[in-house]
């Protein structure tokens, strides 16, 4: 029985994850049954594709730089200094994560457009006389939104690295006469390197493969948009394959590099970290810290504010703030056929995928932590890989692999949507059950056996109650992530009656009349759902929200 379940877990991952990926790989090399580089040559020969690759890389690098410049100092400020309202401020910095930049972008269009709030405001106070084109071609807008969305990931990863940082290594350097700059360069930064690299590669790949934001800004010359567009004529134009191949290649490269980097040298002293004595911030430096964090916070909450404002604004043309307020868009959300279908679909799909995640996550977590089955390491690798492989790649793989089969997304994408949602969130569930099992010392179970309890009693009364908070927390998160999942929803849902929320928002945003406002209302609801689920799950496992975003 145990073996059958174990083999099923493998089969599931192989069929719905490895097989689609290998299909994409093989398709990008096979032309009429022969191995050839023709597809690549054709793709790279295309001017737009070349521009897209360059733009995507540029975007990725710029976002890494901007998130570093904001996230790293922020992490140091919170790890090393003490100041009033620190904890409240810290939790506010999680807020950027709850709105997907895709939704935020719709609201930001309102603020950043030619006659949007910012320009109007600046003209009103007389700073400028002609409106500035903030969005420009769209690239700048994408860059800003992704930075504002992603810097908390850098902040969280560096913070956690700093929490485990043995401050005495720094003190030893100072003690030997090292300057601040030298100590940072030679000691602090190298020791933070694994955490930094992990965060930087997540951010890089995120920026490289984000589909929602560029689509809202109608910026086409990016790898992700090219992949999305190539799906329409996938049978005649194999260009998409080579771009997906490129993304997989980069992802795996970063993945391997990160592993190598961490394994090459011992970064952990193996000793308990000495607690930092936080320095008190006072006077000017306190003022500066407040000003800097306040400004950053204001900027990163702009997308949130803008969609909330848009969702309740009656009229918002040529004014800094809306000129009237209304609830009608929320009524439309629950009254309109398209939005109602979207909400219904998303809840159905996300519930199904969460169920799969909880069951599979618990089972695989159990196999990894509590058994010595052969091939566990492989299962571990397989189940964690979806964390690195972008959603757009998985969705593209499904689309091309299952075309003209009973699972063809053009007929009914619901099953593929459920599975793509669950594959993408499975790593979180496996991780959280695995770590629950790890924290649950086996002797707790042995103690139960030793007083005469059976396997079932032990499982019911000891193991399950102790593991379940992690499991439910993961489930709640997986549900809300799935509801707001963008790339696979955009790619796989083809017909209107199969649209999940994300695709409904995308469709609405493109309509001229009240579409964007309804989209914002839907986005606000989604934002609250995600926010609430973070809160619930962090309460369930009494962990800090940030730990869900930590890698490594």
């Amino acid at each position: 029985m145990k073996k059958i379940i174990y083999i099923f877990c493998f089969a599931f991952l192989l069929y719905f994850f490895v097989y689609p990926l290998s299909h994409v790989l093989s398709q990008s090399f096979l032309v009429n049954g022969k191995i050839s580089l023709e597809i690549f040559r054709n793709a790279l020969g295309n001017y737009v594709v070349r521009r897209s690759i360059i733009n995507s890389f540029l975007l990725g690098i710029l976002v890494v730089i901007s998130t570093t410049v904001t996230g790293v100092p922020l992490a140091f400020l919170f790890a090393r200094y003490r100041f009033p309202f620190k904890n409240i401020l810290r939790s506010l910095f999680f807020l950027p994560l709850i709105a997907s930049p895709f939704v935020g972008a719709i609201g930001m269009m309102q603020i950043l457009s030619r006659f949007g709030s910012i320009n109007l405001f600046l003209m009103k106070i007389g700073l400028i006389h002609h409106p500035i084109s903030w969005i420009g071609s769209g690239f700048l807008g994408i860059f800003i939104l992704e930075t504002l969305h992603l810097y908390p990931i850098m902040f969280l990863n560096i913070s956690s690295a700093l929490n485990n940082f043995d401050i005495s290594t720094e003190e030893a350097s100072y003690n030997l006469g090292g300057s601040f700059a030298r100590t940072f360069r030679k000691i602090t930064f190298p020791l933070l390197m694994p955490g930094y690299f992990a965060a930087a590669s997540i951010i890089f790949i995120w920026a490289l493969t984000d589909l929602g934001t560029p689509i809202v800004f109608e910026f086409r010359e990016l790898i992700s948009v090219q992949i999305f567009n190539s799906i329409k004529d996938i049978n005649t134009n194999p260009q998409g394959y080579s771009l997906v191949f490129l993304v997989i290649l980069i992802t795996l490269l970063l993945f391997i590099l990160a592993k190598r980097l961490i394994e090459k040298r011992p970064y952990v002293s193996g000793r308990t970290a000495v607690n930092v004595i936080e320095k008190e911030l006072r006077g000017k430096s306190l003022g500066f810290a407040y000003a800097a964090t306040g400004l950053l916070l204001l900027l990163s909450l702009l997308p949130h504010l803008s969609i909330i404002l848009s969702s309740v604004s009656k009229k918002w043309f040529f004014t800094v703030f809306p000129s009237g307020y209304t609830w009608e868009f929320y009524q439309t959300v629950f009254g309109h056929r398209l939005t109602r279908t979207g909400i219904f679909n998303s809840i159905l799909l996300s519930s199904a995928s969460t169920l799969i995640d909880v069951v599979l996550g618990f089972t695989i977590g159990f196999f990894l932590a509590r058994t010595k089955m052969k091939g566990r390491q492989l299962l571990d690798l397989l189940v964690m890989l979806p964390l690195a492989i972008p959603g757009i790649v998985v969705a593209f793989g499904y689309f091309s692999l299952f075309s003209n089969t009973p699972l063809d997304p053009r007929n009914n994408p619901l099953i593929l949507l459920v599975i793509s949602y669950s594959i993408r969130r499975l790593p979180y569930l496996v991780r959280s059950t695995y770590s629950s099992f790890q924290q649950l010392s086996e002797s707790l179970e042995e103690a139960s056996y030793s007083v005469g309890a059976t396997l079932m009693t032990t499982f019911r009364r000891i193991t399950f109650p102790l593991v379940s908070p992690g499991l439910f927390a993961g489930g709640v998160l997986a549900f809300s992530f799935s509801v707001m999942e963008v790339s696979s929803s955009l790619i796989l849902a083809v017909r209107e009656r199969h649209y999940p929320i994300a695709k409904v928002i995308y469709t609405l945003a493109g309509r001229i009349t009240d579409g964007p406002y309804v989209a914002c209302a839907l986005g606000v609801l989604g934002m609250f759902l995600v926010g609430a689920s973070y809160y619930i799950s962090s309460r369930l496992v009494s962990r800090k929200i940030g730990e869900f975003f930590r890698i490594g």
Partner: protein
């Protein structure tokens, strides 16, 4: 046959032979110690007795019943885990009653037994608390209470005091002794701390590298160790190399410190190469039989006792130990002479 017998048990993990033909026999009502350095196989032996792993060869008997392959739940052998393994989501009361509940004991009997066990372990006022809110010593008591309430035939304790600080450890040591006397439960106690074993044990078995080296009462093992390993594991010891020159009531051994007269306990023949050993506290600062001269290198002062590290003219290193009151404080650099009574020598054969 004792209440628990381990017969010719061997166990390997991969290539590593962890237990090699181990035999022990535990008597009813005693505290039996399994003592050895880490990695000697004592934890594996314990897990074989509890049934969490099965031996490759050999058998385990409880009384005269073969329990080698019985499930842990069916053995009626209690266990106190090194990390206590208290269930954090249950109160002290729920932790303790669990063992009775799974055996479907009637409610009123559970109530009565638990009250009594909590009284013995002095936990009455903590019964509604959750384990993470208790101190180390209190957690230790809960672990004990949970194990003894099921009235196991044998109670195993796996380094139960290793997570406590020195002061608390001494306190809990006498607590365990008291609880053992009050309940009459047979205990098998695994540790690497020879002080715990010496002060608490009725009998000790010393293990090393998967082998049982020697079994006996603490006093027997200390004063008549069968090997250099046992001798040095139980306390400090000085060793001189030598050769037997004559035998009789006393064995005379020629060493680099001259001829030493040793009370005969084992048979050696003239010409045998041997090692002559004595405990540092058995050296007396006066001349008598078996005089040895040396120079004091340095003195370590412990308050009630002190230890002098000395070196003889033949370059043998010698440690001397005494109560501060009994021997006047030695000073570094002093030349001294000490003697050891013939009955205080231990001889080890040399191959």
């Amino acid at each position: 046959m004792g209440i628990l017998t381990v017969k010719s048990v061997s166990k390997s993990f991969g290539k590593a032979k962890v237990l090699k033909d181990v035999n022990i026999s535990v008597e009813e009502d005693e505290i039996f110690f399994i003592l050895g350095p880490s990695g000697c196989g004592k934890t594996t032996l314990l897990r074989i007795i509890t049934g969490f792993i099965a031996p490759d060869r050999g058998k385990v008997f409880l009384g005269d019943k073969d329990i080698t392959y019985l499930s842990p739940a069916a053995r009626n052998i209690g266990m106190v885990f090194q990390n206590y393994a208290l269930w954090p989501h249950m109160t002290v009361w729920q932790n303790v009653t669990y063992g009775l509940e799974v055996k479907k004991t009637p409610e009123d009997i559970i109530e009565k037994k638990t009250e009594k066990v909590l009284e013995i372990t002095k936990l009455g006022s903590f019964k509604d608390k959750f384990p993470p809110h208790l101190s180390g010593g209190q957690q230790q008591r809960v672990a004990l209470a949970r194990a003894i309430i099921a009235e196991p035939k044998v109670l195993l304790l796996d380094e139960p005091l290793s997570n406590l600080d020195a002061k608390l450890r001494e306190e809990m040591r006498s607590e365990i002794r008291r609880i053992q006397k009050e309940t009459g439960i047979t205990m098998i106690y695994v540790t690497h701390d020879q002080k715990e074993a010496m002060s608490l044990g009725d009998r000790i078995t010393v293990m090393d590298e998967g082998l049982v080296i020697q079994t006996g009462s603490p006093m027997h093992l200390y004063s008549e160790p069968g090997s250099k390993f046992v001798a040095s594991f139980l306390g400090d010891i000085n060793i001189l190399e030598g050769r037997v020159v004559s035998t009789g009531d006393f064995t005379e051994v020629e060493t680099s410190e001259g001829k030493l007269k040793v009370l005969r306990k084992q048979d050696f023949a003239a010409g045998d190469f041997v090692e002559v050993a004595f405990r540092p506290e058995n050296a007396v600062l006066s001349s008598g039989a078996n005089n040895i001269s040396c120079r004091v290198n340095d003195v370590e002062y412990y308050g009630e006792t002190f230890k002098a590290n000395c070196i003889t003219r033949a370059a043998n290193k010698i440690e001397l130990k005494s109560f501060t009151g009994n021997m006047k404080q030695l000073e570094s650099g002093a030349d001294i002479q000490f003697s050891v009574a013939p009955e205080n020598f231990i001889l080890f054969g040399k191959k």
